[in-house]
Point group: C2
Chain length 457, copies 2
């Protein structure tokens, strides 16, 4: 618990209205998009780096846990006060400080919403590629802390690939800068990338310099329907191996398609077992040919229907099915657990078969949504958290799922993070020595273990 005197000190740093501790406030910040609730002892909303530094200095001295939190959209529980302490929120740090067109970068505060940055840079003919599904809500600080991915990852990579430099407040209150505005930088250890995906455990990100790329001048969107999910999965790795680099290559399986049909009224042929949504972007002159090649590819590999959007509206319509998936699935059972297993692209068909087997073996309803082009699968387990017996089966299936992913050369998490959702599986992917190294790094940054101590280590 935080003493009255310390609360007073925090209030004097951030201003009376920006330290929140009413029961309502604490309830609001007691969970993120991952479900379990942990009530914090307070919520602090600083306005600038200096305030954050002063807060951390006190927190470190008094050993008060601090949990940095963007929009709380992460689904691994990495922004909740699992071990008590204070949530630090960033909605007062929400400015785009600079868009440097000539150097192809932007400098932003951590509370800037992803879509807001996208919109502003697009006005200048630029693009910030990372596009997590949460982009209309989630913030850049959270995106960096979780190293967020998104559908465009196949071509453009993840958040880490766009972070050039950071300002960070260490758990001790010291302010450091890493990287800068240059694309190339090999000076000292790469603290910039070490922060990416560190889930708020190493430092508080107070400023971010991101790389921008030219906004593609055109795109082509295609949808291919298959009567066999295995054909669809194999088509994915064939497209990737063919030399085409799609912007997105999404797979939706029969389970999810059925739900979408019932929910949103989208029409698919009755024999549809899987759908691929494929987008390519680039110079208009190159796209027509690429679209045709993809169409041929899908047909040769057994697609029963391939549609190419001829307008933005049609493209939007093709995206509808993919976009409505989460909402549709969430209605089916009380809860939907989104997993994040990731495998080398070649192993995609095998992994999808494994998921189908797990659903049968453990009598569960599991659908598959996948950023298939980069081997990143999101099995959707439709369940009821209150049903203890069913949840035991879910736990077993999930464990087996990740064992399979790792045995295929994959990983526990492609883009969602570990947090408290998957920390128990860390030893499946890493040796004890590797985890010890990670814990050692944590101690270097945070000797008193006050920064998000409940997360993955």
């Amino acid at each position: 618990m935080i003493s009255t005197s310390i609360r007073r000190q925090f209030r004097s740093i951030v201003g009376e209205d920006w330290f929140l501790d009413t029961p309502e406030d604490l309830a609001t910040y007691s969970y993120d998009a991952f479900l379990p609730e942990f009530k914090p002892d307070g919520v602090i909303v600083p306005q600038n780096t200096d305030q954050i530094s002063r807060i951390m200095y006190i927190a470190n001295r008094e050993k008060i846990n601090i949990i940095p939190r963007g929009a709380g959209t992460n689904i691994c529980g990495s922004s909740v006060a699992r071990k008590g302490g204070m949530i630090m929120a960033f909605h007062r740090l929400n400015k785009i400080l600079e868009i440097d067109h000539e150097s192809m970068c932007a400098v932003v505060q951590p509370g800037v919403v992803n879509a807001e940055l996208q919109k502003e840079v697009e006005k200048k003919g630029l693009m910030y590629p990372p596009d997590p599904a949460s982009l209309f809500v989630s913030t850049l600080g959270g995106n960096v802390a979780l190293n967020a991915g998104g559908p465009r990852g196949v071509k453009y990579g993840v958040t880490r690939d766009y972070v050039l430099g950071l300002e960070v407040v260490l758990p001790t209150g010291d302010i450091i800068r890493t990287g800068g505005k240059t694309l190339k930088n090999v000076t000292g250890y790469d603290l910039t990338r070490l922060m990416c995906g560190s889930e708020g455990t190493l430092g508080i990100i107070t400023e971010i310099t991101v790389r921008l790329v030219p906004l593609p001048t055109a795109k082509a969107t295609l949808q291919a329907v298959f009567s066999d999910v295995d054909d669809a999965a194999k088509t994915v790795s064939s497209i990737i191996a063919s030399g085409i680099v799609p912007t997105t290559l999404e797979l939706v399986d029969r389970v999810v398609l059925d739900v979408i049909k019932d929910y949103g009224g989208a029409e698919f042929p009755p024999e549809a077992e899987a759908l691929l949504l494929i987008e390519v972007d680039g110079e208009p002159s190159a796209l027509a040919a690429q679209g045709e090649r993809i169409k041929e590819f899908c047909k040769e590999r057994g697609a029963i229907q391939v549609d190419r959007a001829t307008s933005n509206e049609e493209a939007e319509k093709l995206w509808q099915a993919r976009r409505s998936a989460f909402g549709a699935v969430a209605r089916l059972r009380p809860n939907c657990i989104v997993e994040d297993a990731t495998v080398p692209v070649k192993r995609l068909p095998e992994m999808i078969r494994k998921i189908v087997n797990l659903a049968e073996k453990y009598r569960l309803k599991i659908g598959v949504l996948a950023h298939a082009g980069d081997g990143n699968l999101h099995p959707l387990i439709m369940t009821d958290l209150r049903d203890k017996e069913e949840m035991d089966r879910v736990d077993q299936a999930v464990e087996e799922l990740y064992e399979a992913a790792i045995s295929m050369g994959g990983t526990l998490s492609g883009e969602h993070g570990i947090g408290i959702a998957k920390d128990r599986f860390m030893s499946k992917e890493f040796s004890e020595r590797t985890i010890e190294i990670m814990r050692g790094i944590k101690r270097v940054f945070d000797p008193n273990n006050i920064l998000n101590p409940g997360s993955f280590l």
Copy 2:
């Protein structure tokens, strides 16, 4: 010094012929492409990970320094026994273990030569983009340890952007694995990227999984000559800001052009003050238009001559000037010091003016070669290491150069590393606290400070 008994132990691990300690052997390994000489106490050439683990176990116990070394082409002195100890060489670990076309990656041993990997993957229509100038000699292990860049960096980034996973032997002898074969991976701290650019100070890289991309089907090569270096530099940032993403965008200044002319007989208009070499790659259909746009761009910004290669032979000829630069410059004075200042692209014209000023101020001959498209400049200081008075001026100029780069938002090193060449400048870029964090990380990996202890920390 290493005792006879320990030498015997090392010999029994790697085999009699693979522990070298004749005066000739020690001389061979006493310098890398950076000049100062440091004679090692021995050279060990292991054959596999297990041997390396056993060597490190002994070295750690006996506190014997180990300096991992690829081909020794680095120019920052990061592979010499500055504080004594044993060089570890990797020419027995030179196999490409797997090229996985469908998952777009390859698994290699650290001693594989960069160009060898390029050649093998190109046979399959794939490309490994990082292309340091040393590519025909330098090894993948060295490339990762130094996070090597290259001319293609403008479009494709540096080595770090292609490393997916590593096997690493820690200084204590433990073997760990990081990352894997997947494009996306956010499980735990990013030890994979932390190893990139760590200059052999954190662990010994024994296996590398690299990402591959499709081999571009076509390229266009252009050369633009300017009568004003400022026009050339400004053209660079205009091209970058225009939405064109060149594969390479190199700048050569008048000083270097003059040397090339005298040396190789290449012809340039007499008023030539700078040359841009520009390459774009991609789909043939898009390239013609891009080539035209670049041509227009250069002309509008004052280019007095723009040539576009119409065949591979012509492209090769345009590259000749750029490629012969180092050789030509090296003949002019006894020594040529290659610097590696990097600035945001927008500041390129300013940085080039600064270099011209420094040459005047300190009465030095300095040419400029730049990977201009990513703001990475290589000032070439033509000098004589034996001339103490001149070297004092060189030292002052270099210090001022890096102060300028950092004040422009740049960095000490874009792609060459810090090593013993620039460790004295670290405090110009980083606060004491940041360096302390780096030292802390070093201690986590290497508590006895035996791995390349002479390098940048």
